[in-house]
């Protein structure tokens, strides 16, 4: 393939910002992390190439259990987010019109105008033993003593579902909006019940949106840090905390890098598995998102 020099230069200049962005912000750090993850400490300031950091993950039950737990919770969060977001998206896409629709989308977006930290702190204020919900429960007589709703897995799931909701609603509403009303009516007309229409027409139509939303929410959840740290209990170690601990408190960068790569690989593998199980391809999903 030979192009004229002037042409190829123009092409290069046009592509340069994108390539630079890709190269500097995505590829380069990952390459660095990858290289780092293969170095093992031999003695102070002496490192050698090796797979020990990866081996450590599989041989030390603590680490892979933490990952398994994180992955399982993330799948649970994704599923809950989907179940919660679906009716909302359905309402936004099919019922709400004009201003109401814009309002509802804005309402979903509103919490994202403040940082994740502030949102999480907001949940802490609500859920803590001396917090609003505990007080309200006592006030209406549903509880006789202060209720601690914070520092457990339920609080973490709540916080993560809340944070993921928007990222599920938008692709879902997008997918549902393109469903022709007559197709739904035809589903009823030919004798389908509500459930049949939902199962055989609405959900299959929304599938690319469902998959896109699930991938986004799962990836965001697995990689979340602040929410599990702040809302989580004394038992709820998230895998990202493990990475943070390796980098920051243990000064063991190679191990942290290996964990980072493993998080990327294993969560990608879970996404791939999910796509295979639902018979979706990444291509159609990306078109939807």
């Amino acid at each position: 393939m030979i192009a004229k020099p002037a042409q190829s230069l123009t092409l290069f200049l046009l592509l340069a910002p994108a390539l630079l962005w890709l190269g500097l912000l995505i590829v380069l750090p990952h390459v660095e992390i990858l290289i780092l993850s293969f170095s093992e400490r031999v003695a102070p300031r002496v490192y050698a190439f090796g797979f020990g950091n990866y081996l450590e993950f599989f041989t030390e039950p603590l680490y892979w259990r933490t990952f398994a737990r994180t992955a399982f919770m993330s799948i649970l969060v994704t599923a809950l987010t989907l179940v919660l977001a679906f009716p909302i998206a359905l309402y936004i896409a099919r019922v709400a019109q004009g201003r109401l629709k814009a309002m509802l989308l804005l309402l979903c977006l509103l919490p994202f105008w403040v940082s994740e930290l502030v949102r999480t702190l907001g949940w802490m204020i609500l859920l803590r033993e001396t917090g609003v919900i505990s007080y309200a429960l006592r006030a209406v007589g549903l509880a006789s003593q202060p209720v601690e709703l914070l520092y457990n897995d339920g609080a973490v799931i709540l916080g993560l579902v809340y944070g993921g909701l928007l990222f599920m609603i938008v692709p879902l509403a997008n997918a549902l909006e393109s469903l022709e009303p007559a197709v739904v009516e035809a589903g009823y007309d030919l004798g389908g019940s509500r459930w049949t229409v939902l199962r055989r027409i609405v959900i299959p139509h929304a599938m690319p949106g469902i998959v896109a939303g699930c991938i986004i929410v799962f990836m965001l959840t697995v990689g979340n840090f602040a929410t599990p740290v702040l809302l989580g209990g004394k038992n709820g170690l998230w895998f990202t905390e493990q990475i943070y601990a390796q980098f920051i408190t243990r000064f063991n960068w190679p191990q942290g890098a290996a964990f980072g790569m493993l998080l990327l690989l294993l969560s990608s593998a879970i996404v791939w598995l999910g796509l295979r199980l639902t018979g979706q391809s990444l291509g159609t999903t990306l078109k939807q998102a």
């Binding site: 102070p44 300031r45 603590l62 601690e148 493990q242 920051i248 408190t249």
Partner: protein, 357 residues
């Protein structure tokens, strides 16, 4: 892709740009420290006297080491890690440069503390740290709600079930080791023995976990929980306890029976610090008794400055006297330097503690 040479050129150009950019500004000291250690009035006074601007970044031990490690000791001109966390990281990562003691006015320091710190921070015959602020880890207790808490092990007792807290960090491991009749400092030199000891401590803490409401991360988080009554006893810094005591006399800082843990935060110069002169000026300025007294008051802790205690306000002195009878002072366990590799052992114990259910 960029070739290696091209990227080198690019990097050089960028670096040159940054150097030019900073050279135009006034002389500057980039300080990596703890919150409260560089109060604005002290910084203003220093700038007025020397013309040097101070850029303050607040942090903690682990982050200080990580930050300096990431840049191999660049980005800051002066850091303030604890004295026990200098020798190990220095051996491992080489992030500090030796101090030129001739540039320091050693008579401004409490002599015994200066000597102890110098000894602890010496690697390959060179000194890397001098003392600045010191304090202790002990128990912060709501004496009305939990009158019988006197030692770390009492955090695991039924009287404070669900209302106790400590940090899931190394001080907790050390404290519970002492409280259960072990001497972790004696095992510092023997990694195997230390690992065995830590496993025992880990088991003890795992058992204690049912009592813990949460592992506290930031001191504000803990203080708020104690104020609201959600926590009645916690392992924490003395300064936090005295802060609460000033608001409510029922809240007290108690030196535990098995000994409070004594720490000393130091001055250390990062390996690639660019303004050593300013760093020495800041150290000498800060160790003047009148300045040291101001800083100590702001931090709520004590200073290694010789003579500053006479200038300290009465309140903190009284609180210290109440928390530390003579015997308790003698019983303070001062951290020796942490040899490289121990953090690895401790880290796993802590990870298991946080992960296990």
């Amino acid at each position: 892709m960029l070739t290696k040479r091209a990227s080198l050129k690019l990097a050089t150009a960028l670096a040159a740009l940054m150097v030019v950019g900073s050279a135009e500004a006034a002389e500057k000291l980039r300080l990596l420290t703890w919150s409260g250690y560089a109060p604005p009035d002290v910084v203003a006074e220093f700038t007025k006297e020397t013309g040097i601007e101070v850029e303050v970044t607040t942090s903690n031990n682990e982050e200080m080491i990580s930050k300096l490690r990431a840049t191999q000791g660049a980005g800051f001109d002066l850091a303030q890690p604890s004295q026990d966390r200098i020798a190990g990281p220095q051996a491992e990562f080489g992030i500090y440069k030796p101090l030129d003691l001739s540039k320091l006015k050693s008579d401004q320091f409490i002599a015994s503390m200066l000597e102890a710190t110098k000894k602890n921070t010496t690697t390959d015959g060179k000194v890397y740290g001098v003392p600045h602020i010191w304090g202790t880890d002990g128990l912060v207790v709501n004496t009305k709600a939990a009158p019988n808490v006197a030692d770390y092990n009492d955090l695991c007792g039924p009287a404070v079930a669900g209302k106790a807290s400590f940090r899931a960090k190394r001080p907790a491991l050390i404290a519970f080791a002492f409280a259960n009749g072990m001497d972790p400092f004696a095992a510092y030199g023997d990694a195997k023995a230390y690992a065995a000891l830590m496993d025992k401590v880990g088991a003890k803490l795992a058992e204690c976990k049912k009592n813990v409401k949460f592992f506290w991360e930031g001191s504000d988080q803990l203080l708020n929980a104690v104020r609201s009554g959600e926590i009645v006893a916690a392992m924490a810094w003395d300064t936090g306890g005295w802060k609460l005591n000033a608001e409510n006399p029922d809240m007290k800082f108690i030196a535990p029976k098995s000994g409070a843990l004594g720490w000393v935060d130091t001055f250390a110069i990062p390996a690639k610090g660019r303004n050593d002169d300013a760093a020495y000026k800041w150290i000498n300025f800060n160790m003047r008794p009148e300045i040291a007294a101001k800083v100590a008051a702001a931090a709520g802790n004590f200073t290694a400055s010789n003579g500053a205690d006479k200038l300290m306000q009465g309140k903190l002195k009284d609180q210290f006297a109440e928390s530390f009878p003579k015997a308790a002072i003698d019983n303070i366990k001062w951290y020796p330097a942490v040899p490289a590799g121990l953090e690895e052992i401790e880290g796993k114990v802590l990870d298991r503690l946080k992960a296990g259910s």
